[in-house]
Amino acid sequence: MELIFEKCNHRQAFSLGKEFFPKTEFLQALQRKTPAELPEVSELDVVRHFTHLSRRNIGVDTNFYPLGSCTMKYNPKIADVVSSFKGFTQLHPQFLYSEVYHEHIQGALELVYGLEQLLSEISGMKAVSLQPMAGAHGELTGVLIISAYHKYYKNTHKKTILIPDSAHGTNPASAAIAGFQVQEIPSNSQGTLDLNSFREAMNDNVAGIMLTCPNTHGLFETDIQEIADIAHKHDAILYYDGANLNAIMGQCRPGDLGFDVMHFNLHKTFGTPHGMGGPGSGPVGVNERLLEFLPGPRIIKENDGKFNLEYPKNSIGKVAPFLGHFLIAVRAYVYILMQGSEGLKEVSQKAVLNANYILARLHSVFLPAYDRLCMHECVLSAMPFHDYGVHALDFAKALLDRGFHAPTVYFPLTVKEALMIEPTETESKETLDQFCDTMLDLAELARQNPEKLKEAPTTTPVRRLDEVKAAKELNVVRSVSKLKE
């Protein structure tokens, strides 16, 4: 498909109109030499171009999207509609930093306050800040809180963060970017954190431990109480990566499990759209002892019912310019209000039911990473097809031809040829059956005619792409000179 930069036809889609405001000449010394070479196309060109582009994608709205660890559930449209109310979209954030304007933002502050309260209740944390702008940003914020806590108590020797080998890549990356050393802890044969290795690694230099629970094997960390006890004995902070909160919401709470600090992924658990990679939202929650280190400002409710700002005593400062991704918060708020207490519990129940159903239907053909019940996602391996020369990637590509998005492949790194499948609660049994039937069909094909799988996909807008060439030639920008050829 043509690039929009290849449609240069000297048209103008948008204009301020003929009646310009009387022009004041811009200062010549500060002027750019030539205007930016942006497209010069009609509005219909723009509309057709982006509509055509959209048709070269598949999303939750069009296909089953069992991308493990990403919680690709249905994104309720009411949440999009509500978040586009003018009273939200056109509200200027700078009102926040001028008391004189606070009467203008009471509705927004009430919503932020309300969502923070709900998230605290859902997680068992003492307080929540909506500032972090994505999951990884929430992790970074959490680690900065851990750092501030230890600095405050002069635990300057605490420079290490322990992270399981099954963790998301963002965990070690966030810890490292915040200035900590990362030490990896292996998983045991049951797929959970190896307690002995953990004990050995634990010493007074450990600042914190980052855990996902259930972990990326889709398994609940059954030793969590002991892990928490050991960590706290060494004054290490226990961090909860909320990526998989969808599995336990309403069943148990990170705060009650012994976690001190955590982040939520509003775009996963609370159904806000993933938007081709973002925006997400990664609120951070803390228990009592970390309360004073939260990012500021925080929203408080005064006795007269008015909402106001407060800065925690030893706040780490600002991680976002204002209160985080407000319009995403609006969507998550809508989601929680409409699910209600029982709905939120049913979310985790059905998410876990669906994952176990897929596991049960596929486990005799695809090798489960761990042969036990799973939580919200199941990790299978394509190793049984190794001898046929068929890999996890081939299954992923073949699924695209059959009308499904692929599961996550080759993650977690602890499982060879991993196929990580997260169906979510919003998919029907019919869809799950179609998916499982297809997987079994592909397994049969892999044995009978492996070349067919290696050919896939054949029905997508493009076939398998040459990634080596892309990295070698590194054509990442359309140059202007090409345009004029």
Binding site: V46, L67, F180, G280, F326, L353, V476
Partner: protein, 444 residues
């Protein structure tokens, strides 16, 4: 329950296949003692109830007055096609394009966004994308530290105090020395904003040369709409250009989601954070797009990654791209010119009776020093349906900035009467005149 399609019958059949009697059996790994007993989550609301409750909440916010509020975030017009196209589910309900064959729409839009941003800034490469202007600046600083191996970060006075505070927060544990200075010796980078937070425009060409002779990087923080007229970061010799992309078709939205713009010289691409898309071919020789240089990223390199960023602002980047395509080459210049002309008109009208204290030419934002506290004027004008601007001192206090606060030339800001006023193409001559008259009346 909302959005859960499983029927009672489905549930029974599925449990039978799994081989457990109850759904609760699936949660057996969670120790009983840790199970949730009680929580205070309200009962579910219907869609109608939710709509009505949220609508009434949204009405408690003021969005109808004539606004002159800026401070790095601006009330620009968003052409209709931006919302219309970006809301398509084929964009909004997808995630990171891990499977490129079914994500060519996303990938091509990223490639086009990279191209548009490079052409806007005259930089060589761009990523797609970072969270906001503040985190883009943090990532730029980290890149400069990786490239130079130095620890000193020099900031030219005039950086948005919100970004300064964000930068200090993000680097608190990193042994970096952040200080206000335009000395390029021995530092990893110099950070300079143009327009700066007070609205002053700077030509940074000389400082770029000084940086390069001393082995430091110049990070230019820019305002994308101003580049419809203004000398670009690339023309000035910037090594990294970062900015807040909100003005490119994103609603103010009480703080986000926004868009962190990040562009750089090509030599730094292997050390850059964030997603980058490249052109390639498929096995039949057809052009296609893939994410590239992924070994920079956290899902491959873990603690050795260039950044921890995973989810980013792809949909916001798409909005910015659609905006730039819709306004196009001529439209962007028109919009920038209109902002500038209106601002100059307003400055001229106001300067007859109140001092404008900027030390340099401005683009669409400037500061007046009122003989009365800025808050007092704001209160008076609110009644007339005008939001007069940002009381500078209050903002500086919220960002823990030392007051008075200096710009590069040494001019000081932050007195009680200092008011930051911003103008966009949405303001009409009548509205500008109304502001002038209201201020005149209030202070005389």
């Amino acid at each position: 329950m909302a959005w859960i399609p499983t029927t009672k019958n489905d549930e029974q059949e599925m449990l039978k296949t799994i081989g457990v009697p109850y759904i609760e059996s699936l949660f057996q790994d969670i120790p009983q003692s840790l199970r949730l007993k009680l929580w205070k989550i309200p009962e579910a609301l219907s869609e109608i109830e939710t709509y009505q409750r949220l609508e009434s909440l949204s009405r408690k916010n003021e969005v109808n007055a004539i606004s002159f509020i800026g401070g790095g975030f601006y009330d620009h017009y968003i052409p209709a096609v931006v919302d219309y196209l970006s809301q398509r589910g084929e964009f909004s309900t997808t995630y990171t394009p891990y499977q490129p064959e079914c994500s060519q729409g996303t990938l091509q839009s990223i490639y086009e966004y990279q191209t548009a941003l490079c052409r806007l800034t005259d930089m060589e490469v761009a990523n797609a994308s970072l969270y906001d202007g503040g985190t883009a600046l943090f990532e730029a600083v980290m890149l400069s530290v990786r490239v130079t191996g130095r620890r000193k970060i020099h900031i030219i006075p005039g950086l948005n105090p919100i970004y300064e505070q964000m930068l200090r927060t993000h680097t608190a544990n990193l042994d970096l020395e952040l200080e206000y200075s335009d000395d390029s010796t021995n530092c990893a980078c110099i950070i300079a904003a143009t327009p700066d937070f007070f609205g002053n425009l700077h030509d940074l060409t000389d400082i770029a040369q000084k940086c390069h002779s001393e082995g430091a990087l110049l990070i230019v923080q820019f305002y994308p709409i101003s580049l419809g007229l203004m000398k670009t970061p690339g023309e000035m010799g910037a090594d990294i250009a970062v900015g807040e992309g909100q003005s490119l078709g994103l609603p103010l939205g009480f703080g986000g989601p926004y868009l962190g713009l990040f562009a750089a010289k090509k030599e730094y691409i292997r050390k850059m954070p964030g997603r980058i898309c490249a052109i390639t071919v498929d096995k039949q020789g057809q052009r296609g797009f893939v994410l590239t240089l992924q070994t920079r990223e956290q899902h491959i390199r873990r603690e050795k990654a260039m950044s921890n960023v995973c989810s980013n602002q792809a949909l916001c980047a798409l909005r910015a791209l659609i905006y730039l395509c819709e306004v196009g080459k001529k439209g962007l210049t028109e919009i920038a010119q209109d902002c500038f002309s209106k601002t100059e008109y307003l400055k001229q009208q106001l300067s007859t009776f109140v001092p404008i204290i900027n030390s340099r030419p401005t683009f669409n934002e400037f500061i007046i020093r009122l003989p009365i506290p800025a808050e007092k004027l704001i209160q008076t004008l609110k009644i007339k349906g005008i939001l007069a601007g940002i009381p500078l001192k209050s903002l500086l206090e919220h960002c823990k900035t030392e007051i008075p606060c200096k710009d590069w030339s040494g001019t000081t800001y932050g007195e009680d009467g200092d008011l930051l006023i911003a103008v966009t193409e949405k303001r009409t001559r009548e509205e500008l005149d109304k502001l002038v008259e209201a201020i005149r009346t209030s202070i005389s």
